[in-house]
């Protein structure tokens, strides 16, 4: 079996930052696995500004922020990039199995950094009653459809949850000519950054209902309406407050969960404080480690994982 010094799974902001700092700290054999056909991860579909203020002290869009790291990585010969490469198994011996077009391979790594990111919580996870029509999307999927695929998923939108992706998509839908009927947030305060409430909702007069929840989604083939109900301090429905909103599309922006199946399948435990795990030489960073608000913080923290991996490898010699 081929043996590599450091294998990093995931080519988003976390994996790229870890790769660059590992190289800067003396690791000279790095393999970076990315399942998509380009590096950058979720940044590629985050075309809005707001990235880079902390790290570069300037305002960048997601693709621009990613580009800084992509260009840097491509100029580092010690980092081998393997695109369209999907890791399917990880063991405690640090053997990684991955598929890429036409082949499945296993390699043994001396050190591993898992930077596999996160995914969105779904309708099923927040228990919304009603029928199962088409037109229900997670906010990030709608973002990909509009910004990457050039497809508009609907024209009358209700957004469930006020996470940052949901707020940003509210503005994006309006810019693309759709009408956003409402954003519905069960908590008393919006969960996204205040700047997104201001520049995505208030700028476009989009109504925000805090302390409300969508109690049902209805439609025969396509979404036709949602029922909205106010909740009390214990988050119990106040049935007399129920009202309906006609719409053809519902977006869910109700939080993110770490994508750590490979680590869990390997029986590895993440040390929640330090980017390390109970397997020496195996590290976790970025949204796979914890859910971040800002890509800049992901970069800073993931750089530490790169340094930790470098220090581990140095001790092995």
């Amino acid at each position: 079996m081929v043996e590599r010094e450091l294998v990093i799974v995931g080519g988003g902001p976390a994996g790229m930052a870890a790769a660059i700092t590992a190289d800067e700290n003396g690791v000279k054999d790095i393999l970076l696995l990315e399942r998509d056909q380009y590096l950058g991860g979720i940044l590629n579909q985050c075309i809005h500004p707001g990235f880079g203020l902390d790290y570069f002290n300037e305002v960048l869009t997601g693709p621009e922020y990613a580009d800084r790291f992509i260009k840097k990585i491509k100029n580092i010969p010690e980092i081998e990039i393997s695109l369209k490469t999907f890791a399917v198994k990880l063991t405690q011996d640090k053997i990684i199995t991955y598929i890429k077009p036409g082949t499945m391979e296993s390699i043994k790594a001396k050190a591993v950094i898992m930077a596999t990111g996160c995914r969105e919580r779904t309708r099923e996870m927040v228990h919304v009653a009603g029928t199962r029509p088409s037109g229900v999307y997670s906010a990030g999927l709608a973002q990909k459809l509009i910004n990457i695929e050039g497809l508009l998923p609907g024209k009358k939108i209700v957004i469930v949850g006020s996470g940052d992706i949901g707020l940003i998509m509210a503005r994006r839908f309006v810019l693309e000519g759709a009408k956003v009927e409402a954003v519905i947030e069960v908590e008393k305060q919006p969960s996204g950054l205040v700047r997104n409430v201001v520049q995505c909702l208030e700028d476009f007069d989009i109504p925000l209902f805090c302390g409300h929840r969508v109690s049902g989604i209805f439609g025969q083939d396509r979404v036709e309406k949602v029922c909205v109900v106010q909740v009390d301090d214990m988050l119990n429905d106040l049935p007399e407050t129920c009202f309906e909103i006609n719409c053809d599309t519902v977006l869910f922006s109700v939080g993110l969960i770490q994508e750590n199946e490979l680590i869990e399948m390997a029986g590895v435990k993440i040390n929640k404080k330090t980017n390390t795990t109970d397997v020496p030489g195996m590290f976790v960073c970025g949204n796979a480690f914890k859910i971040y608000d800002l890509a800049d913080t992901v970069t800073e923290d993931s750089s530490i994982a790169g340094i930790q991996a470098a220090e581990y490898l140095e001790r092995l010699i």
């Binding site: 305002v59 693709p63 621009e64 910004n147 990457i148 695929e149 050039g150 810019l175 520049q199 608000d293």
Partner: protein, 117 residues
């Protein structure tokens, strides 16, 4: 007159209290940096926003090219700017920072690509 707004220059989102006399900004409190003052002044006179969107590419490996205005444009012009952006068709390879449309709506702002496509 006092007015409360939230600064959107950075993710901190400072609560600003503005003192406005005769439509002019007299003082700002609550900002943690100088950007807050400039933001407050612009919000009173002429709110400005960077606009980001996508441009349709034809016969290229990417279907959509992400773009942004090189500088903030008046908030009131966003709708019109989107109309102009939607009319653009790209059929050449672009690099990050390339000008896609010059002097958008005569606002002395260029539309630039934000990704190598």
């Amino acid at each position: 007159m006092n007015k409360k707004i939230i600064c959107i220059e950075c993710p901190q989102g400072c609560d600003l209290m503005l003192d406005i006399q005769d439509g002019k900004l007299v003082s700002v409190i609550g900002n943690k940096c100088a950007k807050g003052e400039a933001y407050a002044a612009a919000e009173i006179q002429n709110p400005m926003r960077i606009l980001t969107s996508t441009v349709l590419a034809e016969n290229m490996s990417f279907k959509m090219v992400p773009v942004k205005t090189s500088k903030p444009i008046p908030k009131a012009k966003i709708k019109e700017a989107m109309k102009a952006i939607k009319k653009i068709r790209l059929n050449r390879i672009v690099l990050i920072g390339d000008v896609i449309a010059e002097n958008l709506l005569g606002l002395e702002v260029n539309l630039i690509a934000t990704r190598d496509c």
